[in-house]
């Protein structure tokens, strides 16, 4: 039996789930997904994805060994051995394998990384369906083998029992759904309120910005502990290289668009993102969830192609428009996950050009306090966290985002700042235009 590459609407191969006989349980509850060798960033994204996209139909199980579905990162340090052991179990749970490389593993579904939200959701839905079917079949088989109760009491008792069971089941489902829904609503409300306006006549109420930010902070900023920044290994853990993420390409595209005062697109098989320097807007043709997931995963060489455009095409319904600044800020938060850009010296003083327009950017805890401190006093990233008595990850996240929109830099950066070379672009278009661009870029 071979693992099947799940491809759009193609059905999931049935065999891998039919081997599994689920315990007699209620599968209307959220299904528990066990994560094996999945890094913290992806785990955060998955938690968010399960509650946002899947409406709480799936949850991450804190003990992966007692989960309904297994998700294994084969490219992780132990991924392959975990899968080998898991596959040997006679009735192992349905398994999804994540890998950059096509994988032929018996009895599991392979999904290529970077993970596509839509595909993952489809696969999960199919597994749920299959588990439900198996569960019902199993129950039917079991019920025929049960001894019948005594002739007098049997019909009434079993009828009552069935009624009771149905009521309990309905209650449990409702409770589970409600619980998930509340988590989901809390997260969603937090996100929405920062981006959209309430109706003009909303009743006045007390607001806690910090608590509002807290709800989304974990997803953006993670939960990394403070590091000893004099220790090289720990310092490296607190840094990320924007060039290894989509944000690196985005920053190149913005720079290119500004240099030539023309729209620049980033194309990939995931969709197109176009930057319009004239209106300082970005047109996004990638689903929001997928974009978050792409932003958090290291990119492959040549995965994203930059090209100068003569005009832009705004497809209503497919394209979202956002201010470039808000887009870059948010994407940086997704990529950095509470880390600072590589080569940042955390012991150098930070200079802030001016306050960011925080009402139009993704807010998170301590952002206003960090800005207030930097606008009045000279502090490094290290001393900022100490003086404000806050976890370092908030300072790093804020610095990364403010640095990406050109508002913050360390004094060393400023002293050594030179004109960066124009980013290399690949162009797929008319040869004449290509020549013109090469000429503009002085690459010919």
């Amino acid at each position: 039996m071979k693992a099947q590459k799940h491809n759009g609407g193609r059905p999931v191969k049935k065999s891998f789930v039919t081997r599994y006989v689920p315990p007699l349980e209620d599968y209307d509850r959220p299904l528990r997904v066990g994560l094996f060798d999945i890094n913290a960033r992806l785990e955060n994204i998955l938690r968010y994805f399960f509650s946002e996209n899947c409406h709480g139909d799936f949850v991450v199980n804190e003990n992966p060994h007692s989960a309904d579905i297994c998700l294994i990162d084969l490219d992780g340090l132990h991924g392959k051995s975990i899968w080998a052991r898991h596959a040997e179990l006679p009735h192992h749970s349905p398994t999804i394998l994540l890998s950059l490389h096509e994988t032929q593993a018996g009895g599991a579904i392979w999904l290529r990384k970077p993970l596509q939200a839509k595909l993952l959701h489809e696969v999960l839905k199919k597994i749920r369906q299959q588990l439900l079917q198996d569960h019902h079949q199993h129950r039917e088989v079991n019920s025929t083998t049960l001894p019948w109760p005594s002739a007098e009491t049997a019909p009434t008792l079993s009828h009552r029992q069935q009624e009771l069971q149905r009521t309990i089941k309905a209650l449990r489902v409702r409770l589970a759904r409600e619980k998930i829904r509340r988590i989901e609503l809390r997260t969603r409300r937090g996100v929405e309120q920062t981006n959209s306006l309430p109706p003009a006549d909303v009743p006045s109420r007390q607001v806690s910005i910090e608590s509002l930010g807290n709800k989304v902070a974990e997803i953006f900023i993670g939960t990394a502990p403070d590091m000893d920044l004099h220790n090289k290994t720990q310092l490296a853990q607190a840094q990320y290289d924007p060039q290894h993420f989509l944000i690196g390409r985005v920053l190149e595209a913005v720079k290119l668009a500004e240099t030539y005062c023309r729209p620049v697109s980033i194309s990939s098989h995931h969709g197109i993102i176009t930057f319009i320097p004239m209106t300082r807007e970005v047109l996004i043709e990638i689903e929001e969830q997928q974009l978050h997931s792409l932003a958090s995963q290291p990119i492959e060489k040549d995965e994203y192609l930059l090209s100068l455009q003569d005009s832009v095409c705004d497809m209503p319904g497919r394209t979202r428009r956002r201010p470039i600044e808000a887009f870059v800020w948010e994407l940086t938060l997704w990529s950095s996950l509470g880390r600072m850009p590589v080569s940042t010296n955390p012991h150098q003083t930070v200079r802030l050009k001016h306050w960011p327009n925080l009402t139009r950017l993704q807010i998170f805890p301590h952002a206003t306090r960090i800005t207030a401190l930097w606008s009045q006093q000279k502090h490094s990233l290290t001393t900022t966290a100490q003086v404000l008595n806050i976890p370092q990850r908030y300072v790093f996240a804020f610095y990364s985002a403010a640095h990406a929109i050109g508002l913050a830099a360390t004094e060393v950066d400023m002293d050594t700042e030179t004109d960066a070379p124009a980013p290399a672009i690949k162009f797929h278009g008319k040869p004449t235009l290509f020549k013109r661009i090469l000429h503009q870029l002085k690459l010919h």
Binding site: Q193, T194, L197, P198, A200, V202, S204, R205, Q206, V207, S208, I209, E210, S211, L212, L352, H354, W355, N357, L358, T359, R360, I363, P365, H366, T368, R369, I370, T371, A372, L373, S375, Q376, Q377, V387, L388
Partner: protein, 178 residues
């Protein structure tokens, strides 16, 4: 927990009364009356004495918000209301004819207060008029009041208003405990 008096000023119709209503945890006290003919171009009524609202910032304290009248004929109230204030929220209506001159006019009018206290600026109605941009306001302020919060704000949105007020409070002291 401390309490702070915050002043909210700005031209007619900038959204001072609305902003206080958006964040006040008590029904705000307002003194609306029929506006003068000039003001009536913008709206029917105007604040003639003051607005008052109450807000709490968790871990920081209680904020007493005092809204000033926008009409210049009531400018005597600006000084009266300023007493005991620790910070000024200046709302500038970006849809008015010359928002930069409004900005400079109010900064001049509150100069004495600003030299001793902190200020944060909210640009309202940017949904109706997107220029000048927030960056351009920052550029106007670079040489006179560098490093102050300037946000685009919809006075009807309590998050926008609360964030601006929070920025003002942390400008007083970034180390205030949350």
């Amino acid at each position: 927990m401390d309490s702070y008096k915050i002043l909210i000023a700005g031209p007619v119709g900038a959204g001072k009364t609305t902003a206080i209503s958006s964040v006040s945890k008590i029904p705000p006290l307002t003194t609306e009356a029929l506006a003068t003919d000039i003001t009536r171009e913008y709206k029917e009524t105007t604040t003639v004495a003051m607005d008052y609202g109450l807000m709490t910032l968790s871990g920081i304290g209680t904020l007493h918000l005092y809204g000033t009248p926008g009409e210049v004929r009531f400018d005597f109230m600006w000084d009266i209301l300023s007493k005991g204030g620790v910070g000024l929220v200046l709302l500038i209506d970006s849809s008015r004819t010359d928002p930069f001159s409004d900005l400079h006019f109010f900064l001049r009018s509150f100069k004495k207060f600003i030299t001793k206290n902190r200020v944060a600026i909210g640009i309202t109605k940017m949904d109706l008029c997107t220029t000048p941009s927030v960056d351009e306001y920052q550029a106007q302020l670079r040489n006179i009041l560098p490093n102050i919060p300037v946000f685009s704000v919809d006075a009807r949105n309590h998050i926008d208003v609360a964030l601006l007020i929070e920025a003002l409070i942390f400008s007083l002291d970034p180390k205030l405990a949350a």
